[in-house]
């Protein structure tokens, strides 16, 4: 029985059935199928929440193992486990006020914002490297980059009003065309990838061992 439950064929049957239940209602207007599909998505979300509990359990098991063996950085694992327990307790006390709210809004969110802000400097250093007029193509890139950059700056419109139509033209023609090319290729690639997953041909789904 356990061999049957672990079999690849059964996994594929479940995967294809779930796919059809969600896929068909998208293209048709049969209310019964839509209701069934919505219910399946809800069930999946609930099952997902349980897998999250299992994932936290696996983190704890691994963390305890590291702490017991006093492996490198074991105290961080103690901190992680303590944080998980405390945040669970805080969340049960209420999420809109109290300690949970304080941790989220006074510690986690500001720290995340700082990290997000640093992104601007990373972008600047990337641009500084990329925007070097080494040849004619790079010169075009540099010129387009400067025009769009200046257009995005708050006061440029006041000082150089003529830059707006050029920047908009670059954005709405070249950038838009490239973006749509990207979307088309990603969509086609995504559909082909999906079919390969449903056929059981993807190693990340069926496991590396089975691919060999």
């Amino acid at each position: 029985m356990s061999e049957f439950l672990k079999s690849r064929t059964l996994q594929l049957i479940i995967m294809i059935s779930a796919f059809l239940i969600v896929f068909v209602p998208y293209f048709t207007s049969i209310p019964e199928l839509s209701t069934f599909s919505t219910k399946l998505i809800t069930i999946t979300a609930i099952a997902n929440a349980f897998t999250l509990v299992l994932a936290v359990y696996s983190q704890f098991r691994r963390g305890i193992n590291i702490v017991q063996k006093r492996r490198r950085g074991w105290y961080f694992k103690v901190w992680m486990m303590l944080s998980i327990v405390l945040m669970c307790i805080f969340a049960l006390l209420g999420q809109d006020t109290g300690p949970y709210h304080w941790v989220m809004f006074a510690i986690i969110n500001p720290l995340s914002s700082v990290n997000y802000g640093i992104l601007a400097f990373y972008m600047a250093s990337t641009c500084a490297r990329a925007f070097r007029a080494r040849n004619m193509k790079a010169l075009f890139l540099l010129s387009a980059g400067i025009i769009v950059l200046l257009y995005q700056a708050p006061l440029t419109g006041a000082f150089f009003p003529g830059i707006q139509p050029i920047a908009l033209y670059l954005n709405n023609t070249f950038a838009m065309a490239a973006a749509r090319m990207f979307l088309i290729s990603v969509t086609v690639g995504g559909i082909v990838f999906g079919v390969r997953v449903l056929l059981g041909q993807e190693p990340s789904v069926i496991g590396v061992g089975k691919e060999a």
Binding site: F27, I30, L52, I108, A179, V186, V197, V208, E211
Partner: protein, 265 residues
């Protein structure tokens, strides 16, 4: 505008999408079954992975590979990232390079992490060096995106890997990682999973997988002709898209909205 294809109670629009999906599926199955020997163009980003692992081996440094923050769980970018990671893991195990896979970045990543760990473990076992697998090299950094980035960047700066392969569903965190990787002198291979990331990542990386190259990575990397044949479908439908675009341009120029209406269904 009324839909061109309406069967009351059964189909109301979206017909062409369904037809295209079915056509693509049939074509993929046909090409996989036919096992045709087809020419597959080289993808520099994927070819560079072997070079990146080799470089790390020569330098005696580790390689860092990630599959994204998996904010939607097992979405197709994450699965594509895992497929590339599986390839990197096998190469690393073969060449005796220490592989580090930072995981985390979202709550859903907790679900993907055990699968990633199993993939790396399987790769080591398949190469006959199962005992070299160290679970500590697949660390879970944080469920928060930017705490994960902090941990990831910290790993890069402390361990100074020879190469970094960052694929899958990385979002705004990708730039921090790619730029740090560049700053420490590692070969940086990335995949632009988000449109807004792609241009910046192309500047920050040594090699980038654009568009469908990442989802098709496992087929590109496979030695099985049937797998590689499925790539041909992508090319066919890309050419078809170009044809439809040109047809639409001509039709609109002639004052006809037939192609526009057709695509809207």
């Amino acid at each position: 505008m009324p839909s061109l294809f309406t069967i009351p109670g059964i189909i109301n629009g979206r017909f062409l999408g369904l037809v295209l999906d079915i056509l693509i599926a049939i074509s993929v199955i046909y090409y996989i079954r036919s096992k045709k020997q087809i020419f597959v163009r080289r993808v520099p980003g994927l070819d560079a992975i072997e070079e990146a692992v080799g470089r790390s081996a020569e330098m005696g440094k580790p390689i860092v590979c990630s599959f994204g923050i998996a904010s939607s769980g097992f979405d197709y970018w994450t699965l594509a990232g895992l497929a590339i990671m599986a390839h990197v893991a096998r190469l690393s195990a073969k060449m005796g390079v220490r592989l580090i896979v930072p995981t985390g970045g979202s709550d859903q990543s907790l679900i993907v992490r055990p699968v990633a760990e199993e993939i790396v473990k399987d790769a080591y076992t398949l190469e006959g060096v199962g005992d070299h697998f160290n679970p500590d090299d697949v660390p879970f950094l944080s469920g928060q995106q930017y705490a994960y980035v902090g941990g990831y960047v910290g790993i890069l700066q402390r361990l100074r890997p020879g190469s970094v392969v960052m694929t899958g569903s990385h979002a705004s965190d990708a730039m921090n990682i790619a730029e740090t990787s560049n700053a420490i002198g590692a070969i940086t291979i990335t995949s632009g999973s988000y449109l807004s990331n792609t241009a910046a990542l192309a500047c920050a990386s040594d090699y980038i997988l654009i568009g469908e190259e990442a989802p098709a990575a496992s087929a590109y990397l496979s030695t099985d002709p049937a797998q590689r044949a499925s790539i041909r479908v992508q090319d066919i439908f890309k050419w078809l898209s170009i044809g439809v675009i040109i047809l639409g341009l001509i039709a609109v120029a002639m004052g006809s909205s037939l192609v526009t209406n057709l695509l809207a269904t």
